[in-house]
Symmetry: C2
Subunit: 248 residues, 2 copies
């Protein structure tokens, strides 16, 4: 059955969606069958694959008896899409019975079909992130080496701790991964050291994702990095991240 | 009475908080009295001023009879703070009577004391953003020149249109401001042109905010750009943005 991993950070624009796209592709190229779930009502992940206004989307399966809708993307790569219409229905989900467990139940129906299920979380600690974490075996936290990142870590760790106490005890943190790092900035190097020292109990991946125009270009092209430019630095880094994850 | 302006964009990490900090400072240096309101339960704006775990915060004034709490920051510059505890109480706000108008009512009690009130919105189109837009005369939309930005514009314009139809007819868009622009990237120049052509009815500020390490350094130092490095390019740009806003 699949390893279910949430890509989570309530800070906006830290590379969650970018990490889901490229980590999923790297895992799929290993021959592993990967499902990506778009739990962000902004639907960026779905937009990146040109899946616009999907008739069946993840929120439908959480509010009714239908299964998780799955769209094939490439070899070994699948997507459960979302879009802005999810935002209007989020409160229905919050108010539903057993709200926090609904994604867990739906995933359990399809877990055997995949090796990995990666869940793209929105920039908040609300119901969508909670459902994702409750349904997950582990989580990966993309994090920038900036002032705002440092403050967010403690809040995120508290939220994960509550999830473990009250809803999903086995949930573990696969690791934090530094993203959008500019090697020429002392500030980034200093902040990475500062974060490592302040949160010693947390596993931090050795792989660091560099700030790179290749990422931006791949998203304009609506492709993952491998398809767009497999020689690019961030692709090699995401491939290494996948290897690191598999070896944990 | 004050001009109330929301700094809004549901896309994460586009520079909303950075824009509030530096636009507010620029306006205050003109001798205008400016209040910044932190409507983001992550409380980044408050953290940037070293206001941590404020005993009185904005959510208290929205859920009870107390006035908006105001902390003096500098000459002509004030802050109504927030922190992660707001997240736990957001559903109380959503479920409260007249929820969308509560910020409007509280602001009306203090409007005469300020020239500008800038509201920092979270990366979502939920109750906090709605309250902010309902309370505002106008809004400014920081936007990156990236693929994700393009998709988000239409959704944001629809949300603003609904707010105008059902809650706040006079609400206008002061303008979109491009942020984190890397002049060396053709991709950014192309995307700026693409966005301008696709959304012709929308005012776009001439001022563009460049990607700059000075911004990151100022936030590590917990200062606005003027205090940290008034010779820096982004400070000059935010000062020019303030002038452009005042001349609208
Ligand atoms: N390594 C990188 N180098 C350069 N640009 C990047 C990198 N990673 C992500 N980006 C860009 O930064 C922006 C934000 O990335 P992304 O959308 O993946 O973050 P996110 O955490 O999913 O945001 P949100 O919180 O809004 O969901 C995107 O425009 C993306 O193309
Ligand atoms: N012009 C710039 N140049 C370089 N870095 C910038 C610039 N503007 C903002 N940043 C950095 O980008 C990150 C995101 O900026 P900011 O927090 O202002 O965005 P936001 O839209 O408020 O994010 P959120 O959606 O999470 O509230 C911060 O670490 C900030 O220091
Ligand atoms: Mg995302
Ligand atoms: Mg912010």
């Amino acid at each position: 059955p699949a390893q279910v991993i949430s890509i989570v950070n309530h800070k906006g624009g830290v590379g969650k969606t970018t990490t889901v796209i490229n980590l999923a592709k790297a895992l799929s190229l290993y021959g592993l069958k990967v499902l990506m779930i778009d739990m962000d009502s902004q639907g960026n992940l779905s937009q990146c694959y040109n899946v616009h206004e999907p008739e069946q989307q993840i929120i439908d399966s959480l509010l009714s008896d239908v299964p998780i809708p799955v769209v094939p993307i490439a070899d070994n790569l699948y997507l459960a899409p979302s879009d802005i219409r999810m935002a209007a229905r989020e409160s229905d989900l919050t108010n539903s019975i057993g709200s926090e467990r609904r994604l867990t139940i739906k995933i359990s129906q399809i877990r055997d079909q995949y090796d990995y299920i990666l869940i793209d979380c929105p920039p908040s600690l609300g119901i969508c992130t909670t459902c994702s974490l409750v349904a997950s075996d582990g989580c990966i936290v993309p994090i920038q080496a900036e002032a705002s990142a440092y403050h967010g870590v403690a809040n995120l760790l508290n939220h994960i701790s509550d999830i473990r106490t009250y809803a999903n005890p086995p949930l573990n943190i696969k690791g934090f991964v530094f993203t959008m790092i500019d090697k020429r900035l002392n500030l980034h190097a200093d902040m990475m050291g500062h974060i490592k020292n302040s949160f010693k109990g947390v596993h931090i991946f050795d792989t660091v994702i560099s700030q790179s125009k290749a990422v931006k270009e791949s998203q304009v092209a609506k492709e993952d990095l491998f398809t767009c430019d497999p020689t690019s630095v961030p692709w090699i880094q995401y491939k290494t991240l996948a290897t690191e994850l598999l070896n944990l």
